[in-house]
Subunit: 303 residues, 2 copies
DNA sequence: TAAAAATACTCCATAGGTATTTTAT
DNA sequence: ATAAAATACCTATGGAGTATTTTTA
């Protein structure tokens, strides 16, 4: 079986063209060196040296094998180097899941910062609902996810990266759009547009319980999977929607956002990951996120 | 010190993701396998596996190292394959020296044939005088040479590849050009153009002794290194020259070649090589040349 | 408790050392 | 006569085996 030892010895002899000097360079005696080269030649099935017992010369095959051997050691060095870089999180790939609304607030800044800090990491972004992300995180098909809490699974660690008030999205010509602030009660008879509960149970339940406290159940006329769609439906005067305030960033014309008069629970976005699976690349990503969060101030129209 | 053994073991474990099964595949027990992987990780300076003691998973660095390891083994296979090919003479390089006049007769056919038979051999052609070739052959800087005999050096083997009569090159309007055959004696008072003796002692001495036998010493008015030049000087009516007949192939206008009436020693071209240094590639070249020679008939205007 | 990897130890194959011979210059 | 590689033989490192423990699902 050929070992790197054989190749190292061969390289030394090929460079020195002298078994004695090569042995010296390898800090070993000459006879075992001769033996190992012999062994290598047997394994390879061809001779590497012309041995006139006085002069050592590379055969033609030896010359070519020598050049190719160099490449083997270069490839080995490269493998080690790349592995070490990866172990420091400097190269690698990172699969990131995110709910669509994260794309309108924290995500751009985080990605930009991470790309600067770790340019050798290939990012793979997937827009997914919160529970799709949980499934993929468990299966190891995702490294981190930006989800809507609550998130009560022991195997995940999480960090809140963004908090914002909920607001009412109104058609531009809706009477309530004239007011600076909307009391929730005034929406009691309005048609509502909501996410399907399975896709965002946290947000859905928040909205429902909010309405309950204002003594009404929202009349849901339409569900929509995308934030984009919800906003478009509002613009089309299909109904009103209670949405995270950062949707304002969409700048959809025909839609006006108004804060709720009531104290509302804040809509949060959390970064989650598997506790036990923190690769250096993931760690670097977490570090980048941590560095950015303090700079974030929850937008709040009431402030 | 990292050995291929370590890498082979790592590849097996990385593929099986199970030390027990990997050990089985490697026809060995599980504990030494664990040890060797440990050892590899220590050498590398980073972990290859996440060991939860129940599940084995590649770390990110491990995944990348795995990919690079594949390339190492591919490179190793390539090195062995190329070496074996070279040992069979299927690839390699061949340095060929030749005297300029060889380019007008045998060389083209030989090269063409060899290129067809051994397309993977890179040819390096050098136009050199006979003694320059001897020096380089001794130094190993040339594999074979096409020279003008005589060649009396024990360490070389040789093979005559071409023989031809000597002829007189005359200016087109020279009175002797009217004759079908020229007696050497009629050139006694003509101005001669010759090679400098050091560059082609064999040919030079042949010509001189030829003249001696015809009872005159040639009056040398000009020496020229290139056959081309000699022929041009003849065309310019500077003098006459005794040259190998194959120079006719130059088709220089203004020059007429006429055979000598006397029996002349033939000018030969020999292929020579170091007896002790016959690489498979050289052997293949010799074989090609041998196959061609019988087809060669010495051109002879007297025939 | 069952399955899998890690530890602890033991052994022997073989890499490497020493002494000597062979051979070519 | 000398330098260099090959051969013969011996030594001991460390790779691999067996038995056992540890750990977690």
């Amino acid at each position: 079986m050929i070992e790197l030892r054989h190749l190292r010895y061969f390289m030394a002899v090929a460079e020195e063209l002298h078994f004695g000097r090569a042995a010296e360079r390898l800090h070993m005696a000459q006879p075992p060196l001769s033996q190992q080269i012999r062994q290598l030649e047997t394994e390879l099935g061809f001779d590497l040296f012309h041995r006139t017992r006085r002069r050592v010369e590379l055969t033609e095959a030896g010359q070519i094998f020598f050049k190719e051997c160099r490449k083997i050691f270069q490839q080995l060095d490269l493998a080690i180097q790349k592995g070490q870089q990866a172990s420091r999180g400097e190269i690698g790939q990172l699969s990131i899941g995110f709910v669509s609304s994260a794309a309108y607030n924290v995500l751009p800044e985080i990605l930009q910062s991470f790309r600067t800090q770790a340019p050798d990491v290939t990012l793979e972004l997937q827009e997914l609902t919160s529970d799709q992300q949980l499934t993929r995180l468990r299966a190891g098909r995702l490294d981190v996810g930006f989800v809507r809490p609550p998130m009560t699974d022991e195997q995940f660690a999480s960090m809140t990266v963004f908090q914002e008030d909920l607001a009412v999205a109104l058609p531009a010509h809706h009477p309530l759009a004239a007011e600076a602030m909307v009391p929730l009660r005034s929406l009691a008879s309005e048609p509502f547009i909501l996410f399907p509960r399975p896709l965002a149970p946290g947000l859905y339940d928040q909205i429902i319980s909010l309405c309950q406290r204002a003594d009404f159940s929202p009349r849901v006329v339409q569900e929509a999977i995308q934030m984009q769609t919800i906003v478009s439906l509002v613009a089309a005067e299909i109904g009103v929607a209670i949405v995270p305030l950062s949707l304002e960033n969409l700048k959809r014309t025909g839609v006006i956002y108004r804060p709720l008069q009531e104290e509302t629970p804040q809509a949060a976005i959390a970064l989650i990951w598997q506790k036990e699976q923190v690769s250096p690349t993931i760690q670097r990503f977490l570090d980048v996120v941590k560095a950015i969060i303090p700079a974030q101030h929850s937008p709040n129209l009431k402030g």
